[in-house]
Symmetry: C2
Subunit: 213 residues, 2 copies
């Protein structure tokens, strides 16, 4: 059966982006270090068309996360800022260039209606009628596969608060950001989780949870 | 060489106590669940004079934490609230009864001067001239052994911010508290940590870090 999964890198003090985020620097001050463990990986570099990189236990975690995903949901910030042209008339084509790395249907949460955008083998569908609607469409598009909630934090928090996530993996990075955007903001104490596994790796600990329903 | 160590149970959303803390309920609403993993352990129950309990990988973590500690530093809240008598004249004897579980010198950070209090084989020394002074005295008392910073969170945060901690272990519990007292409050982004190990266990993940100097 399809699962709804989310995973995100988080600082030891609970931030998924540093202070003073901007549209150009959505990770905020110091936030890039959240992904140091990932961009050093051979499997990540290979998937991004780059050579070299380290091999360690994080490769298996990363490959497990990529596997069996049939559709992704993301916030508008992850898709990309609107750029200079008015959104809709001269649609900015996202952060991701002409060959986005998704290779599957992507549902973008936004307040601005627009036609779907296909770039290479990724089609972005823009959803304006709420997170439940986006989930229904993503589950249908995914078929037997899983739906991945790609972020950012606000999107993950909305789905967690709505009880619509089955599995959550945190990549806990041993840095302090001292401010910024918090995972679990306004999610509240009613969400019940069960630890599935904890894996220590160079520069990161992978903590995976099942959301109890 | 002596190390300065701290460890504390923390919710997945970063709280070491829930909302609405009081002197009688310093763990706040829902905060007791932070210690469910610990009080279920055979090794904890044995150390507390109780029978039964589970055996799992957390026993080894708990025993490692207890081992080689020569002195403890704690905040006044962990020692105990002043109670009904005026502090000093009719010294309240702490939370811990006539046979406190420390069995070593304990240094209590407080603003109220008073004579040391010996209960069974634990002597509480009350330190009014700051955290550095308490550390010097604890290191001297510990000899070749380690100094343990027993909490609460404010005490740990003060020592982290001052760069006076060598090792920090977090017991990450899969609950959300939704509010309360945060570890790392005002510690800031300059503290550099290195992951030493991550251990998954029933109901908790143990993440151990070295503070880089």
């Amino acid at each position: 059966m399809s699962k709804v999964r989310a995973h995100i890198s988080i600082s030891l003090d609970g931030y998924v982006a540093g202070p003073n985020q901007t549209e150009e620097n959505p990770l905020g001050e110091g936030g890039e270090a959240l992904h140091d463990w990932l961009v050093a990986l051979r499997s990540w570099r290979e998937q991004s068309g780059m050579e070299g990189g380290e091999e360690n236990v994080s490769d298996a975690v990363f490959e497990e996360e990529l596997a069996n995903v049939g559709a992704e949901i993301m916030g508008r910030g992850k898709f990309g800022p609107p750029g200079r042209g008015p959104w809709g008339d001269d649609p900015w084509r996202g952060w991701w260039g002409e060959d986005p790395p998704f290779h599957k249907p992507v549902f973008v949460l936004t307040h601005h209606e627009r036609e779907p955008l296909t770039l290479s083998d990724t089609t972005f569908t823009f959803v304006t009628d709420g997170i439940e609607s986006a989930m229904e469409r993503a589950l249908e598009a995914a078929g037997d596969k899983d739906v991945f909630i790609g972020g950012g934090a606000k999107t993950i928090n909305q789905y967690l608060a709505a009880g619509l996530v089955d599995e959550l993996e945190l990549h806990v990075v041993p840095i302090l950001l001292g401010g910024g955007e918090r995972l679990f903001a306004d999610v509240g104490p009613d969400l019940k989780l069960e630890e599935l596994r904890a894996v220590g790796a160079p520069g990161v600990a992978h903590l995976k949870y099942r959301v109890m329903k």
